[in-house]
């Protein structure tokens, strides 16, 4: 199994395979989805906010809570919602199985 359901900005929904030990950002980029900034990011160090994704409430509830630095950066994301996270800060684990998320607006 090991699937995530990722909705792109266009509305297209893709099934993305996750693997233990890497971040949600990595699996999204590895799947060839470059809407989260593949070039301009900080390398996944919770420092630029360009990998903003929004989990559906039911999926978000299963994730470990964001730490201080991630919350600081989420503060500057204009389309922040309840399920907002930085994909680089969400580790892949069984808790994610079947989770649904969409890519932030990038605004």
């Amino acid at each position: 199994m090991a699937k995530l359901m990722v909705t792109l900005r266009s509305g297209e929904c893709r099934e993305v395979e996750w693997r233990e030990g890497v971040s949600v950002k990595d699996v999204i980029l590895d799947a060839g989805i470059f809407e989260i900034n593949g070039i301009t990011n900080c390398g996944g160090c919770c420092s630029c906010g360009t990998c903003h994704v929004i989990f559906e409430p039911e999926s978000a509830a299963r994730l470990p809570a964001p730490e201080e630095g991630e919350l600081d950066l989420l503060d500057i994301v204009p389309d922040r919602q309840g399920g907002s996270r930085l994909a680089c800060q969400v580790p892949c684990s069984q808790a994610l199985e079947g989770a649904r998320l969409r890519i932030g607006s990038g605004e």
Binding site: C42, C45, C46, C48, G49, T50, G69, I76, G106, E107
Partner: protein
């Protein structure tokens, strides 16, 4: 400033005594002849002759990390490698640049404040302004058929954009450029300290002015910014201003000058970019890889060992970012300038928590300038065979770049 990190020189020298002799290379980042000949290939030459990580006794003694992978490891590891002191030779004088000198998590809250102004959306909205600035500055030289590119355009373009963004008085352009050029030249820590004080004074004056006359600019906006629900203090504002001054007034200028020097010698590439402007992003990335600017530094916070190099608390570490882009293990045939290069890797904006906050602006500036330059000037070339005036050091530069082209009549074309 963390006092524990302010290690006296004697203690550092003692720690340096137990460095494996096989890891010692005599290399002066300011005066090494190979760097004066070519700052990029000079560093790259060490890939053949030096260990992947070596110690040089020059400039107070410091480590040098030469390989892409090792640099990524060091720069992302804030647990062992701190940003509290970034000068080589170290200054230990307590002046702090926020957020550059801070380590996460303290760093992130300030970083977030600035990201609001340097994120993709804010930067993309600036494109029309950049296009206008490029035309305005190229107007000054187009009819001459020649120019010394470095100051008039290489610095003129990004520094004007930055000063306008900040709300700095544009009529003080030359004064501010003079300050930043001295800052990054081979001066003593004492003198650099004096120049720092001058920059703090300039920023203090700027924020005072914006308090009296707020305007639509970054300096005014920062006065209204909050961190964790309270306004930024005067000290924090000046500290951020100091960092923006140094970051905004020199680095892109150098990246742009390096890239245009290369393009001047490549008529084939000029033609191709005119015909295929959609390749400009690849051109910019390849320029950044091949001609990096910053030699990023850290101070060891906690002892650790990488590839047999024993990093001891208080020692300085340098990651010459050009050596990452030119690392043949990461980019085969690294000297070759190839905009079609597959799987290009560079960390010219550094990596990790301190990735250059202006990287999106810098990239956009290089794309916009190159596009407008080629539209307006067309084919251009190096004028004469001057020995390039490289400035090695922490931030590398080319002090002159004489170019020539066929002047399009007397009247400069207007966009």
């Amino acid at each position: 400033m963390d006092k524990a990190l302010a290690q006296p020189a004697a203690a550092q020298a003692q720690a340096a005594n137990d460095i494996d002799e096989a890891l010692i290379v005599d290399w002066d980042i300011y005066t090494e002849p190979k760097l004066l000949e070519d700052v990029h290939l000079g560093w790259h030459a060490l890939h053949d002759t030096a260990p992947d990580i070596f110690w040089t006794p020059r400039n107070g003694g410091h480590w040098v990390v030469m390989r892409y992978e090792d640099q990524v490891q060091v720069l992302k590891d804030a647990e062992h490698f701190s940003s509290r002191e970034l000068h080589i030779p170290p200054m230990f004088n307590g002046n702090v640049m926020i957020p550059l000198n801070l380590d996460p998590p303290e760093h992130t809250r300030y970083r977030a404040v600035l990201m609001r102004y340097f994120g993709p959306a804010a930067i993309n909205r600036m494109e029309p302004k950049l296009v206008a600035w490029a035309h305005r500055l190229i107007d000054r030289v187009a009819a001459d058929g020649a120019c010394d590119f470095t100051e008039i355009l290489g610095a003129g373009f990004p520094v004007s954009v930055f000063m306008e963004l900040m709300g700095m008085p544009l009529d003080r352009f030359e004064e501010f450029r003079g300050i930043v050029l001295e800052y990054f030249s081979n001066i003593t820590p004492e003198r650099r300290g004096q120049v720092q004080e001058r920059i703090f004074a300039v920023m203090r004056e700027l924020f005072d002015e914006k308090r009296r006359h707020p305007a639509d600019d970054l300096a005014s906006a920062l006065l209204g910014e909050e961190v964790r629900g309270r306004p930024l203090t005067q000290e924090e504002l000046e500290s951020m201003g100091f960092l923006l001054f140094l970051g905004g007034l020199d680095t892109v200028a150098n990246a742009l000058t390096f890239s245009i020097r290369n393009l001047a010698g490549r008529p084939d590439l000029q033609q191709r970019l005119i015909a295929e402007p959609e390749k400009l992003p690849d051109y910019v990335e390849e320029s950044l890889r091949r001609f990096a600017v910053v030699n990023q530094t850290r101070i060891v916070k906690k002892d650790t060992v990488i590839k047999g190099a024993a990093f001891r608390e208080g020692q300085m570490v340098m990651c010459p970012l050009t050596a990452a882009g030119l690392d043949p293990r990461r980019n085969p045939q690294p000297e070759t300038f190839d905009i079609d290069r597959a799987d290009r890797g560079h960390i010219t904006f550094s990596i990790g928590a301190h990735t250059c906050i202006g990287n999106m602006l810098a990239r956009l500036e290089m794309r916009v300038f190159t596009r407008v330059w080629l539209e307006r000037i067309g084919a251009f070339a190096l004028a004469g065979a001057d020995r390039p005036a490289w400035r090695p050091g922490l931030v590398m530069a080319l002090e002159h770049l004489r170019l020539q082209w066929k002047a399009p009549g007397n009247a400069p074309a207007q966009a």
